[in-house]
Point group: C2
Chain length 193, copies 2
């Protein structure tokens, strides 16, 4: 639109990319609003600029801040509570599974290294018999002989500081097919700010 055909690729000129973003963002929000009104549809639209600035539109926005929470009746709250609990359970399950695998992997490596270590020591000792050189043993910090856990406990309060990292991908942009389970992960971050 406007004076010249548009190539569908990143605008390299920073200035005009910024300008285009501003204009198209406005247009997009407007259209989102229009379709919601004209067609009685629920719409949620979230746009982040390259710099991370957030713009959004939503047909009804029952936020998670105190004031709007007031509006929710008990049944709604029970529903949300249930939903969040289920999500939390899944996240924990996955996290524990990953830690489990991680630990298992480390044990394996540890054993392998220990064996290697032993065989090296052995060879060294043999060498020492033929030479006069003394090479000190390497002492690795020793884990207590950890029993292999059947289930890893939940680590509810061990989260580190928020690292808003690496959620961008360069060329994976495309129209997604319809699915009811889709939700970009970074959206969740905005539940709590």
């Amino acid at each position: 639109m406007g004076r010249g055909r548009v190539q569908l690729k990143r605008i390299e000129n920073k200035i005009s990319r910024q300008v285009t973003f501003s204009k198209r963002r406005t247009g997009l929000l407007k259209k989102a609003h229009e379709i919601s009104v004209l067609c009685d549809a629920d719409v949620a639209l979230i746009v982040f600029s390259t710099k991370g600035k957030l713009f959004e539109y939503a047909t009804h926005s029952r936020h998670y801040d105190g004031e709007d929470l007031e509006q929710l009746n008990l049944r709604e709250l029970q529903n949300v509570e249930q939903q969040l609990e289920t999500a939390l359970k899944r996240i924990r399950t996955k996290k524990n599974q990953l830690m489990h695998e991680s630990i298992s992997e480390l044990h394996k490596k540890e054993r392998a290294l220990q064996e290697r270590n032993n065989s090296l020591s052995k060879k060294l000792k043999e060498n020492e018999k033929t030479s006069e050189q003394q090479i000190p043993m390497l002492h690795l910090p020793q884990h207590p002989p950890q029993p292999y856990p059947c289930s890893v406990p939940s680590f509810a309060n061990t989260s580190g500081p928020f690292i808003g990292a690496a959620m961008r991908e360069e060329e994976s942009v495309q129209v997604q097919p319809v699915s009811t389970t889709m939700m970009p992960l970074w959206m969740i971050r905005h539940i709590n700010q």
Copy 2:
């Protein structure tokens, strides 16, 4: 667009509303895609038809289904877990507060009714002295004398079946100002399908 100006209000004709929805939805998704590519922006767009059918676009979609969860590293999971926990805490706090208020309100009403009841009984007895009519006392089902709770316990597992109700509002649609805490409640429901 097209042959005639558009009034920004719900299209009453069901057929053309449906058609318009289909056309504009396509356009909206396309524009969402374009701005994301042209301006290197992250975009998430979710549209529900009146009938609840879901359409969406997202620049990167790390879903919550098993497969994509695989991709998430521990740090990500810890973050999400923390976020969900915080959200859950707030939801519970609010729910408990509402129940608390509700109980308090009911107690108040109960007391008022009891007083009214007592005074009515009194009057009745006085009347009985002057007439021969016998009017039976009203027996209300009696609550045990409930102590006023300082804190209402959490009802983690009392949620009823999901009721996907009443999230629509007729005329509250408008472009929202930018905020970092916004997230429509109904989105959360889609975390767990």
